[in-house]
């Protein structure tokens, strides 16, 4: 809808549009028979930046060309704010909601918008979801520009491109696709932008929305994009040839494409000695399988395939199970469930109730349950090992995926013992192999095997050996000169 000519009419329409919301402020200044009005939403902008200025500026306004002269005046005297003109109500309201002040001049059907944003976000703080011992500590915030800045200040290459899309009929959130032009193949960016432009939804509150809408195969529980709050990790990914998507008002960005081994990595891996990193990654890989398979194997062995258990252990296990009233599978499920409840409660509870939870979890559920003969000690050990193993991962999504597949393994083992368990494992591998994100198979670099990319998957080679970027991500491979070492020695 085009703007009207008179100030009063404009204000009236605006008020009608948002139902006279309490935070809309409209003022009209009259001086020397010249009349201008300004409007802002006091909840998102601060007026003190501009009202003083307007009072003075109105005097110098040219009566013949009021709009142009005033626009130039503002343009030339206010340097630290964005100044734009707009002609429709929708555009004007978008700017008002973004923290702009709109100036309307009597007789013009255009408005000038000046940025008078109020700071509504916290500053850059330490990351809380991905804490590390060494490396940069800053994290993304809810401020979109600040997030872009946190990346830009790390990569000063002009090839770092930001492409912005506005998504959300009501929220009109900015979604920025960041990539490095000469590393990322163009078709991938195009594909993502196309997908993003197709999205038609009324609101995008967090990156979670975008992620869900981008993922086509909703049936897979395994995450195909990485979420992170760490700008340093986002930058590393960008430089490896991945694409980062940032969403306004969300401190989490998503990185894609992701492969399974990415979740065995931690942001810290780049800042520590390669040997130690390899060790941790192998540990995480072991933990992955431990968390996934242990309860299933336990049930299969305890209820079907006793002959595999060594003699001494068999007797010890049999004695421990003596007097437990439930079948092994129920016993395990009961405690898997108990742990999940504890975890769920722990994540969302404020810290003051944490100690109470520890007492309930550790003492009552663990110790007392064994003493009461509801559960055998070995099951507690199995569940504890499983649960601890799953917590080594940084990404919540992979933990959830493990959790769900673990249940499937438990079911298979409960009904068919080791045979069912192995069958389920085959299904598991088949499922993983069928996943892909932006044309990258999920099990890369193991399947399809890419030996050169293996150097930074489970085992990280030293930086001198990692002269190339991963082949499955980019064609622009050179990260370092091939002769780097020769030239230096």
């Amino acid at each position: 809808m085009k703007l009207d000519n008179s100030i009063e009419k404009i204000f009236e329409t605006l008020n009608k549009m948002n139902g006279k919301s309490s935070d809309i402020v409209t003022r009209i200044i009259e001086k020397n028979n010249k009349k201008i009005g300004y409007v802002y939403l006091e909840s998102v902008s601060s007026d003190d930046k501009i009202s003083n200025f307007l009072n003075k500026a109105i005097v110098n306004m040219d009566r013949k060309k009021p709009f142009d002269s005033f626009y130039n005046l503002i343009q030339n005297s206010i340097f630290n704010s964005k100044v734009k003109s707009c002609e429709t109500y929708e555009d004007m309201y978008y700017h008002l909601a973004s923290g702009f002040t709109a100036i309307v001049i009597d007789g013009c059907n255009k408005a000038i918008v000046v940025e008078t944003r109020q700071k509504l976000d916290r500053g850059v703080t330490e990351s809380t979801s991905e804490t590390i011992t060494r490396g940069p500590k800053d994290s993304f915030t809810e401020n979109h520009n600040m997030n872009l800045g946190l990346i830009r200040k790390r990569i000063k290459d002009p090839n770092l491109w930001y492409e912005e899309v506005k998504i959300g009929r009501r929220t009109k959130s900015k979604v920025t696709v960041a990539y490095i032009k000469d590393i990322v193949p163009n078709y991938k960016v195009k594909k993502i932008l196309n997908e993003l432009k197709k999205i038609d939804i009324d609101a995008v509150i967090d990156t979670g929305y975008i992620r869900e809408l981008l993922e086509k195969d909703q049936k897979s529980v395994f995450p195909k994009v990485i979420s992170t709050e760490r700008p340093d990790f986002a930058c590393t990914s960008l430089l490896n040839g991945k694409i980062v998507i940032l969403v306004e008002n969300s401190p989490f960005v998503i990185i894609l494409p992701a492969v399974l081994t990415d979740f065995f990595h931690s942001p810290e891996d780049n800042y520590q000695k390669p040997f130690n990193v390899s060790f941790s990654r192998i540990l995480r890989a072991i933990c992955f399988f431990l968390a996934l398979l242990t309860p299933g194997i336990y049930i299969a062995l305890m209820t079907f395939n006793h002959e595999i258990i060594p003699d001494q252990l068999l007797i010890s296990l049999a004695i421990q199970r003596e007097g437990v009233p439930f079948p092994t599978a129920i016993e395990v499920l009961l405690f898997v469930l108990t742990f999940e409840v504890l975890r769920e409660a722990d994540i969302h509870s404020p810290s003051f109730s944490g100690s109470a939870m520890n007492v309930v979890g550790a003492l009552i559920l663990g110790d007392a349950a064994v003493a009461a003969g509801i559960v055998s000690p070995i099951v507690i050990i199995i569940i504890a090992a499983t649960s601890i193993s799953e917590l080594v991962f940084y990404d919540v999504d992979i933990i959830d995926a493990i959790r769900e597949w673990r249940l499937l393994f438990i079911l298979a083992a409960t009904f068919m013992g080791l045979i069912g368990f192995v069958a389920m494992f085959i299904i598991f591998i088949a499922k993983l192999s069928s996943l892909e994100c932006l044309g990258t198979p999920y099990l890369t670099p193991f399947s399809p095997l890419n030996i050169r990319s293996l150097k930074d998957s489970i085992i990280r080679f030293s930086r001198k050996d990692l002269k190339n970027r991963p082949e499955y991500l980019t064609n622009n491979l050179k990260r370092m000169d091939d002769n780097y070492e020769k030239n230096n020695s």
Binding site: T303, H306, I309, P310, I315, S316, Q320, R321, G373
Partner: protein, 392 residues
């Protein structure tokens, strides 16, 4: 996807938990013994996950054992008798020792072996020992402080002493089976003896005492002809048999020298038996080799003198040779080829062996046996001469 899920659910329900068994619904058998009482077999099983041991106060992983026995005309009917006593199903998947009593062995062990071959729920790698001078059942009862239950004690004992002493050769069921099924090899199995009183040994005091009054001890080889036990070898003969069979890797010998003696210890002993036919006459070459060191010296022996060392070496080789000869004499006396020479001829000269097969055991003395012992004495001792002498 829906079809897959549907078929999975169908699969799961169709299996109906086939083969499902909770572990604590079993009585886990960890040792079995077979005795003879009158005309009947008496089978005893040692059950090691006795429920009464699971009191919340004591260490729950420690077990108390129960021995159940049953009698029957066949071994299976004896087993079924045990089933009437035992509160839960017997689990034979992990038992580690089978004790066969002397009487049963003298009557023939084929019955027992046949049972274990056919009985589907057993693992075939348990050890087999004979019980000498006592009921086989009793050996399962002797509690010892160092092992959590008796069968464990015997199994560990068999396993470790095989490696450390020449006279014990562990026989597991698979070996035993292949020996019985082979052409021209006879069995030799170690025995186990109870030292002390059985009643005391099966009580709890025996565990609590620091010097158990009753214990089990591994002993010499019993030699078989066919499936029947016919004789016991003494210590020297046992050693000889094991040397020829290649079961001896480590051994010691005491050699009288002048007024004192020297003990030599070999940790890398090996034997090589080869056969040939010379003018249709069987010849067996036994070559023994290895290294030994002096481990104990008594008397006035000058170890720095290389001639003395040489002499000791000669004497020890002679002694080894003698042990082997003794073993062969025993075999000839009992007319049983415990060394498996027949098997070797069968493999190399099948036609020849076929012609002599029936009388092989009877004509053992016709085989020409050449023994060559080549033990090297390495003079690596911390003190060259005996301490007595140094003090002078």
């Amino acid at each position: 996807m829906k079809k897959i899920i549907l078929s999975l659910i169908l699969l799961l329900t169709l299996t109906g938990c086939w083969n499902y068994n909770e572990l604590n619904e079993f009585s886990i058998v960890s040792g079995v013994s077979i005795d003879k009482s009158g005309d009947e077999y008496e089978m005893s099983v040692l059950i090691s996950n006795s429920p009464k041991s699971n009191s919340s106060e004591s260490n729950s992983s420690e077990s108390q054992v129960v021995v159940y026995s049953g009698k029957g005309e066949s071994i299976f009917s004896a087993l079924k008798q045990i089933g009437l006593i035992s509160p839960s199903e017997l689990y034979f998947g992990s038992f580690s020792i089978l004790v066969i009593s002397e009487e049963v062995a003298k009557d023939g062990i084929n019955n027992a072996i046949d049972f274990f071959v056919r009985y589907p729920n057993t693992r075939k790698n348990f050890y087999v020992v004979l019980s000498k001078n006592s009921k086989a059942k009793d050996t399962l009862k002797i509690m010892t402080p160092l092992s959590s239950f008796p069968s464990q004690q015997i199994t560990d004992n068999v396993k470790t002493t095989t490696e450390l002493q020449g006279i014990i050769a562990s026989t597991n069921f698979n070996d035993l089976l292949s020996t019985i099924l082979s052409n021209g090899t006879e069995l030799s199995i170690n025995c186990i003896e109870i030292i002390g009183d059985v009643k005391e040994g099966s009580s709890k005091e025996n565990i609590e005492s620091s010097e158990p009054k009753t214990y089990t001890k591994l002993g010499n080889l019993g030699i078989f002809k066919g499936d029947k036990l016919i004789d016991w070898a003494n210590r020297d003969e046992s050693l000889g048999i094991n040397i020829i069979n290649g079961a001896t890797k480590e051994m010691f010998l005491d050699i009288e020298y002048k007024e004192g003696y020297v003990v030599i210890d070999s940790t890398s002993f090996s034997s090589n038996v080869s056969i040939e036919l010379k003018n249709d006459q069987p010849v067996v070459n036994i070559e023994l080799s290895g290294e030994a060191r002096i481990i104990e010296v008594k008397g006035d022996i000058d170890l720095e003198n290389s001639k003395v060392i040489e002499e000791i070496q000669k004497k020890s080789n002679k002694k080894i040779k003698k042990r082997v000869e003794q073993a062969i004499e025993l075999a000839i006396k009992n007319k049983t080829d415990v060394f498996g020479f027949g098997q070797m001829f069968y493999q190399k000269y099948p036609k020849y062996f076929k012609s002599v097969k029936d009388k092989w055991n009877d004509n053992l003395d016709e085989i020409e046996i050449k023994i060559k012992s080549d033990l090297m004495l390495k003079n690596k001792v911390s003190s060259k001469n005996s301490l007595e002498e140094i003090n002078d």
